[in-house]
C-alpha cells in the first residue's frame, strides 16, 4: 500500500493512495495518511484511482479522517475510484457522507474552487 503526497498547499491537500486497502494495507498506511491529511485541516482530495481493493477497515480509515476534517470545517473528496472500489463505497453508503468525483475538475468544483 502506497501513499503519495501530491499537494500540500495553503488551502488544499491532495494525496493519492495505491494498492489494496485491506487490513494489511491499512496497517501500513493509516498513520501516514492521517498525518498527511487530518492533521493539516485543509480541504482534501484523496485520489483512489490506484486502489484495487477497499475493505471496511479502509472505509473506516477514510471516514475517520473525513470526520476530523469536518470538525475543522474542511472537506474531503474521493477522486476517481475504479468501478469495483466505487461499488464498495456505495455498498457501505460512504458516498452519502463523502462526495465522490470522477475527475479532478469535478473534485475542484465540489470544493467550490
Amino acid at each position: 500500500m502506497e501513499l503519495q503526497i501530491l499537494e500540500h498547499g495553503d488551502t488544499l491537500t491532495r494525496v493519492a493512495l495505491a494498492g489494496r486497502l485491506d487490513s494489511a494495507g491499512v496497517g501500513q498506511v493509516e498513520l501516514k495518511f492521517s498525518a498527511a491529511t487530518a492533521t493539516r485541516r485543509k480541504d482534501t482530495i484523496v485520489d483512489l484511482s490506484g486502489v484495487t481493493f477497499l475493505s471496511s477497515l479502509g472505509i473506516r480509515m477514510l471516514l475517520t479522517v473525513a470526520r476530523t476534517l469536518h470538525r475543522a470545517e474542511a472537506r474531503m473528496i474521493l477522486l476517481a475510484p475504479p468501478e469495483a472500489v466505487l461499488e464498495s463505497i456505495r455498498h457501505a453508503a460512504l458516498d452519502q457522507l463523502i462526495p465522490v468525483a470522477a475527475d479532478r475538475a469535478a473534485a475542484q468544483e465540489l470544493l467550490g474552487r
Binding site: S55, S56, L63, R67, A84, E87, H91, A92
Partner: protein, 154 residues
C-alpha cells in the same frame, strides 16, 4: 466437481492472513473466477476472516481458523470454521445509516458490505465450532457476480 482449496489460517503472525488471502485469489483466478465474483469472494474472506481473528480467536495466538473454498459452475462457496464462542454474524442487524459525518459510527460495516456485494450468509454451530458458509452466485459464465443488493446503510 468443484475446484476446492483448503486453508488453515493461524492467528499469528498477521502476515499469515495476507498470505492466505493471496492464495485464495490465486485459486479463484486459476479457476476462471473474475470481476465482481472475485471481488466479492476476496471481500468475504477479508471481512469474515478479520472478524474471526479479532473476536473468535482474540488472545489466542496459537489458534487458527479454517476456510474451505469451492469454485462451482454457478457459484463460489467459502466455508469458515472456528472454535471460538458461538456467534452468528448472519443474525446481526444492519448498521444504522447516519445522516451526517458527525453522526457516523466508525465500524460495523464489514458484514453489510459482504451482503451488499452479493454474498449470502448461512450460519450453524456444531461440535463446539462456528460454521459460516458464504455463497456468491456467478452469472452467464463471464465470471461476474449477480447484481449487488442496494446498500442498506451503515
Amino acid at each position: 466437481m468443484p475446484a476446492r482449496l483448503q486453508l488453515r489460517v493461524p492467528a499469528e503472525p498477521p502476515a499469515a492472513f495476507s498470505e492466505a488471502s493471496g492464495q485464495l485469489r490465486g485459486h479463484l483466478e486459476v479457476h476462471g473466477v473474475a470481476g465482481r465474483t472475485l471481488y466479492a469472494a476476496d471481500l468475504a474472506f477479508e471481512e469474515l476472516g478479520t472478524n474471526i481473528l479479532t473476536h473468535a480467536l482474540a488472545g489466542r495466538p496459537a489458534a487458527a481458523f479454517d476456510v474451505q473454498v469451492n469454485v462451482e459452475t454457478d457459484r463460489v462457496r467459502l466455508v469458515f470454521e472456528d472454535d471460538g464462542p458461538a456467534f452468528d454474524p448472519s443474525a446481526a442487524s444492519p448498521p444504522q445509516r447516519p445522516a451526517s459525518l458527525a453522526e457516523a459510527r466508525i465500524g460495523g460495516l464489514g458484514l453489510e458490505m459482504v451482503r451488499n456485494a452479493g454474498g449470502r450468509l448461512d450460519y450453524s454451530r456444531a461440535g463446539g465450532k462456528n460454521r459460516l458458509e458464504v455463497t456468491i452466485h456467478r452469472d452467464g459464465g463471464a465470471g461476474t457476480g449477480g447484481p449487488p443488493a442496494a446498500p442498506s446503510g451503515f
